[in-house]
Amino acid sequence: MSMKAKTRRIDSVTVIDISGRITLGDDLAELRQLIRGLLSQGQKNILLNLADVTYIDSSGIGELVSGFTAASNQGGHLRLLSLTKKVQDLLQITKLLTVFEVYDDEAKAIASFSKATGA
């Protein structure tokens, strides 16, 4: 199953619901463009909902890191929501759980951006 991404807005946060496989290929470029597009539009609080991600490879992990860095460089925040066990394992062994803020509860994740931005 190829990757699909849909966006929705909650308060100051843009939630990107991602499903399928985040792997090397055209889909990855689309995700990158989506995140860069949001940042360029001033939507700098981004929450990636990975609940329906069935698979992620090293390139997909790299894209998450790329989005995180791009958001941070523009004064924004990119956080993760609802990791599957497989994704959590990968982020753990690559030590990226020490980099990303990860939430299991969407409301708490949304609230975290208010604290971060002081909104």
Partner: protein, 161 residues
């Protein structure tokens, strides 16, 4: 390789489509060999990353070059060999993605994940041209993820990610 081994061999084009084909085949072989679902996933991912390295960094997506893939199912293990026709690479030059300065790098985690998901990871240059990577997964070993896994060194150029 012993006479008791079951061997499956395929030749793949240097395309990203080959990555999924190889991974699907790995899952089939490992399921048939009796590995549980989690181990199948890990071995499949190791094959996925290895084929990406062969296609992108080894063969550089050259349509004239092929990737060889062999599965040996043995009583105590599955061995997977991946051969490309590239210039080779220096395994010792591949940076550690866990180092603080590398954590936020976009690439460079492929070999680390391969090592983490199989029990043995070997790389050797081929006599004429190209590189052979061997992945070994033993049966009845712990499912514990081994950070970095076991590895052996070899020689070459053009570090893959």
């Amino acid at each position: 390789m012993t006479a008791q081994s079951e061997v499956i061999e395929v030749t793949l084009a240097s395309t990203l489509e080959s990555v999924e084909k190889a991974e699907e085949l790995a899952l089939e072989v490992c399921a048939k060999a009796g590995f549980d679902e989690e181990e199948q996933h890990r071995i499949g991912m190791a094959v996925h990353e290895s084929i990406i390295n062969a296609v992108r960094h080894g063969n550089k997506m050259d349509s004239k070059k092929r990737v060889g893939l062999q599965f040996f199912t043995l009583p105590d293990r599955v061995e997977i060999r991946i051969r490309d026709q590239g210039a080779g690479f220096d395994l010792s030059a591949v940076p550690d993605p866990l180092e603080t300065g590398n954590l936020l790098k976009v690439s460079g985690r492929g070999i680390f994940l391969i090592r983490a998901f199989v029990d043995e990871f070997r790389v050797r240059p081929l006599k004429d041209a190209g590189t052979e990577v061997t992945l070994v997964k033993f049966r009845h070993m712990s499912n514990t993820i081994d950070q970095g896994g076991k590895h052996r060194e070899h020689e070459g150029k053009n570090a893959p990610h």
